[in-house]
């Protein structure tokens, strides 16, 4: 009975935790929605389309300067977020030698990656619990130069920089000192779109989104899930033969 009561109490406590998944309808976003729901979190998904699996869905529209308010609105009803995870993104090519493609790609990455990451960081500052988790999605490729996909790399480099700003001490303008900040720097995620775009690749090297979601859940749960993890950490998942290992960068 005691054990059972303890389990129920944990469950009640857990269900009071709310996660905001920005880009919740993408491949990584859906994996996060599933993982956090399975762990009894209340899940708010925000994207351009409704997410029926989530407990609450924010259909983000309008100009960028209204997005933070839209993302913050559910917290007024549900309580402040315990985790804010930005999985919004995508990919665009465009090398330095292709000015038209490069500008088009850069503009799409500003909107899909750069602006969503900053909106997420601003929401975390505005309505996240002091011991919450802010997780942003960078890219392993953009930890070095990416002249062949210049707009993608610039947006992801800016996201990594943003993560370092959120992880600065609170006295210097970063998040509350008990909050955790993680930048995920994936290689290729195992999504239907990536399989379609790279049909000849070895899919065994693609990282399953669920593996990333599990890592983020452990960081969000706190306690042992953050043991040894530095605030502002950059984590790269490397997958070979279907097995993923995590590397600090």
């Amino acid at each position: 009975m005691l054990a059972r009561g303890a389990v129920r109490m944990m469950s009640t406590e857990a269900s009071s935790r709310v996660v905001l998944v920005v880009g919740g309808s993408g491949a990584l976003g859906r994996a996060c929605v599933s993982a956090f729901k399975a762990a009894d979190w209340t899940v708010v998904s925000a994207d351009r389309v409704e997410d029926k699996e989530a407990d609450h869905s924010v259909v983000v529209d309008g100009a960028w300067d209204s997005h933070v308010e839209q993302l913050a609105a559910p917290a007024a009803k549900l309580g402040n977020y315990s985790a804010v995870i930005c999985t919004a993104g995508g990919w665009a090519g465009g090398s330095l030698s292709e000015p038209e493609d490069a500008v088009a790609g850069a503009q799409s990455m500003i909107e899909a990656c750069y602006q969503t990451a900053l909106s997420s960081a601003l929401v975390s500052y505005k309505c996240m619990r002091p011991d919450g988790l802010l997780a942003l999605t960078g890219a392993a490729a953009a930890l070095g130069p990416t002249p062949g996909m210049i707009g993608y790399g610039m947006a992801k480099a800016a996201t990594a920089f943003l993560s370092s700003c959120a992880a600065a001490p609170n006295a210097e303008g970063g998040l509350p000192d008990a909050a955790h900040v993680t930048l995920i720097a994936p290689n290729v995620l195992d999504s239907p779109a990536n399989r379609a775009n790279m049909p000849d690749a070895d899919f065994g090297t693609f990282t399953p989104p669920a593996v990333v979601a599990d890592l983020l859940l452990s960081r969000a749960e706190g306690g042992d899930g953050r043991a040894g993890a530095a605030r502002g950490e950059i984590l790269e998942p490397r997958t070979a033969e279907g097995v993923t290992t995590w590397h600090r960068r």
Copy 2:
């Protein structure tokens, strides 16, 4: 006579060199226009307004996706550029704790810094001589976290990343291997706007734009002007009591 002939020949050779100064009407841009003109370069200035001091002035207008073509147009008449220098920029505040200011500031920095830097890099790839100079303007502050001016820092971090991409080996998508790439990472430039915005500051710590222009001219001239300089270098000017020293970062 020989000496005089040699001087004239140098002068003729020098005047065939063309520099494109993007943001030529700003404080740093004007200093570059003056310095290169004084060294007998042909100067093309590009900005939102006409620059009467320059030999040729491009008034950039319209959407971003037309800018590279506008910046490239003078090269069709004058010959390919020997240097492309992006001095366009500005500053905006907006901390993580101020979502409205942060988004407004970030948007203005995307347009003033991020997009102009990328346009400049694309023009250098398209119509710069293989041994030319691409110079971009980052910020000393953005070499570390800037949670108090988040959009400024993100745009300048992306610019530094762009510089590293342009400096990648040509075989990997960077500029031709004989080209030089310099990122200037200033602290506060001694401009009328900065003096007006920081009236109580010690102006002796402000870096004179002419000092930066002289450094860029020496890099553009090549030869001894690039001796010991790494492609992709990051140079921070530090000024104290009116004296500026250069630091590799």
